[in-house]
């Protein structure tokens, strides 16, 4: 990560304060690899963050411009920022599962509905780990966490035929992908495509939390064991009905199929101003 860190990150923020064994650093690195692959410079991208492990660990690491939103609302802030910024400026948001799929889901869906030109990296560690390990909305059902000592009772967004990416697709997202933090070039390529999309993109990264989900949910702090469990999660052996299961790769690529929100708003404003608008 050294040369990437030197080129793109603020020295004061490296190394991060993440727990030993945390997968977030791998996600962070893949974002920078994709940024490099896309030829994006530090002036070309504004980096926003949510609240939680992902928000706190990635806020203000970017050498360019940074902002951190209130919990779950960074998608709404991005709507206004997108409207104000020139089209060529990219907006990237790094957020956690609680931020995106819990407290911020309504704003996230409306951001997808509008096809706002932002790239959301939803880094998912299966719960609220920065507050000490409570279950979230992707925590597999039945798992023990600090707020589900007898196992979670509610279904999550990744089971019983539900997939949060399907919901985002229905909402209007134009690029969606999912990877684990262990994946390499394929995951980087997905982020590159997400950044290339003029509209709303989300890449869902599932990554291990050793300190809470590993220690309590999987009953192990052994990194090898934890990584194997996550690999199983993605493997074809674990089909629906035989345990938690997710697929990896690009799930929806409709880049260019719908107008981007701010570009459409700007051109509509011009039409109205010049009296060229036609009522639908």
């Amino acid at each position: 990560m050294d040369y990437l860190a030197e080129r793109y990150l603020r020295p004061r923020k490296i190394p991060s304060t993440a727990c030993s064994g945390c997968g977030l650093g791998q996600v962070h690195k893949k974002i920078l690899l994709a940024v490099e692959q896309s030829g994006i410079g530090t002036d070309d991208l504004v980096w926003g963050t949510g609240i939680g492990c992902t928000g706190r660990q990635t806020f203000n690491t970017w050498k360019g411009d940074n902002f951190a939103g209130t919990h779950g609302r960074v998608y709404a802030m991005a709507v206004g920022l997108r409207a104000a910024l020139p089209e060529e400026k990219k907006i990237l948001l790094t957020v956690g599962d609680g931020d995106a799929f819990g407290i911020g889901l309504s704003h996230l869906l409306h951001c997808a509905r509008r096809n706002v030109g932002v790239t959301v990296i939803a880094a998912d560690n299966f719960g609220y780990q920065s507050t000490g390990g409570q279950y979230g909305y992707t925590t597999p059902q039945g798992f023990v966490t600090d707020s589900s000592p007898y196992g979670t009772r509610e279904p999550g967004w990744l089971q019983d035929g539900a997939d949060i990416l399907d919901i985002l697709k229905s909402a209007g997202a134009t690029f969606l992908a999912r990877h684990s933090s262990f994946e390499g070039q394929k995951a980087v390529d997905s982020i590159e495509k997400a950044l290339d999309n003029k509209g709303f993109s989300l890449v869902h990264f599932i990554y291990p939390c050793v300190t809470h989900f590993g220690a309590v949910g999987l009953n192990s702090r052994d990194n090898g064991k934890i990584v194997r469990w996550f690999e199983e999660l993605f493997s074809a052996k674990n089909r629906p009905g035989r345990g938690p299961h997710v697929t990896s790769g690009i799930t929806h690529d409709a880049r260019g199929s719908r107008p981007e929100f701010a570009a459409a708003l700007r051109s509509r404003t011009r039409e109205i101003r010049e009296g060229r608008h036609v009522q639908a």
Binding site: N60, A76, A83, A84, L85
Partner: protein
């Protein structure tokens, strides 16, 4: 000057256009919906944007995003939406983002009565978010013309102080029709005592120095300055910190940038105060219009009365209540919020008359003045008589 005959809502929209508003985001709510409707027509014609939000929380966050991108932004709501602003309001105060918020107060709590005027957010506008460690700037119009001028002023104050400014109106001011003048050039703007402060952008990656200065350009993203702003406690360099000393510096800036320049915010009007009256009526917004008539009538009848009308509510103008008198505070609520604050500032007796959604009559107020002058108890209001 151009003269219009329209509502306070329309006046505030014209004011926003003149002030250079580039983005309005709101969520439909009575009685502020008309502001959103007017904005949806007016913004594109003025080259600005109208974004209807999924809820009020999003509306103010969208305004913050627009402001961070370099635009002047505005939102408008009523009590149930104003309370949902709590989250972004705090963000904008702490990250020092200029923007304008209109609250057309109605009768609460909660949905209450949608179509009647209220004054229930006096204290909420002082503490619109959690956590403390800040001051707020709040203006209160009592007419359609003032809805116009105060909205222009709110934009200027927001820019200068780097903070959200609330225009705390009520349903009678926003829905009421009246003629109002709109300046057509800079000279006419100045003649109304107004100015437009252009949006500037902070030049460097640093946040703000630990000082009381105003007129420091706000942080703008997307200009390649390496700027950063967040909900975390900021250092002067823009990094997030958990250092309590840094937080104290931040809190002092949020408080004293406003208090040290409060003469730019403080506004009030009086009538009859030069005669050192025994009874002083205190009000803001719509009730002040009845109060003024009542005080004039009381004086005509030989009673010793005067009145103070607050045009800015926060920071609170304690010094207006130092003179020896019986203060009678008149509000559109039953709990007496302004009365409580006057009680804190004044060293003399404070009385309260208030009702939900209904203004008192001038006759009731004159009778109250008469009784207070005789040292008698205030009569119960019409509503209270009916309740009993």
């Amino acid at each position: 000057m151009k003269t219009y005959f329209d509502t306070g809502n329309a006046a505030m929209v014209e004011a926003a256009v003149i002030a250079g508003c580039g983005l309005f985001s709101g969520y439909p709510i009575t009685p502020a919906t008309e502001i959103a409707e007017h904005m949806s027509r007016r913004m594109p014609l003025a080259g600005g944007m109208y974004i209807q939000a999924e809820d009020e929380t999003a509306a103010l966050h969208i305004c913050i995003g627009g402001a961070l991108g370099g635009l002047k932004t505005m939102t408008a709501t009523s009590g149930p939406g104003y309370v949902l602003y709590a989250d972004p309001y705090g963000w904008a105060i702490s990250a020092e983002v200029p923007l304008v918020i209109v609250n057309a107060q109605r009768v609460g709590p909660v949905s209450g009565i949608t179509g009647a005027p209220g004054q229930g957010e006096f204290y909420l506008s002082r503490y619109p978010t959690h956590g403390g460690n800040f001051e707020t700037v709040v203006l209160a119009p009592n007419s359609v013309q003032e809805a116009f001028t105060m909205t222009v002023q709110a934009f200027a104050l927001a820019e200068r102080f780097r903070t959200p400014v609330t225009v705390l109106a009520d349903q009678l001011v926003t829905d009421g029709y009246a003629s109002f003048s709109v300046p057509e050039n800079d000279e006419e703007l100045r003649a109304l005592g107004l100015r437009v402060v252009p949006r500037r952008a902070h030049p460097g990656p640093d946040f703000y120095p630990a000082c009381d200065d105003i007129d420091i350009p706000p942080v703008v993203l997307g200009r390649g300055t390496g700027a950063a702003c967040s909900d975390w406690t900021p250092t002067e360099e823009g990094y997030d910190t958990e250092d309590t000393v840094e937080h104290m510096r931040h809190a002092r800036r949020l408080i004293y940038k406003i208090l040290a320049h409060r003469e730019l915010v403080d506004r009030y009007e009086t009538c009859g105060m030069e005669n050192d009256p025994d009874i002083v009526l205190v009000s803001y917004g719509s009730p002040s219009r009845v109060v003024l008539g009542a005080v004039k009538e009381a004086r005509r009848q030989g009673l010793s009365a005067g009145c103070i009308r607050l045009q800015s509510l926060w920071p609170f103008q304690d010094e207006l209540f130092r003179r020896k008198a019986d203060y009678l505070v008149v509000e559109l609520n039953a709990d007496g919020q302004l009365a409580r604050e006057v009680e804190r500032a004044a060293r003399y007796p404070v009385h309260f008359m208030g009702a939900c959604g209904e203004l008192p009559s001038a006759a009731e107020l004159v009778e109250a003045i008469r009784r207070l002058e005789r040292g008698e108890e205030l009569p119960p209001s019409t509503d209270e008589r009916e309740i009993r």
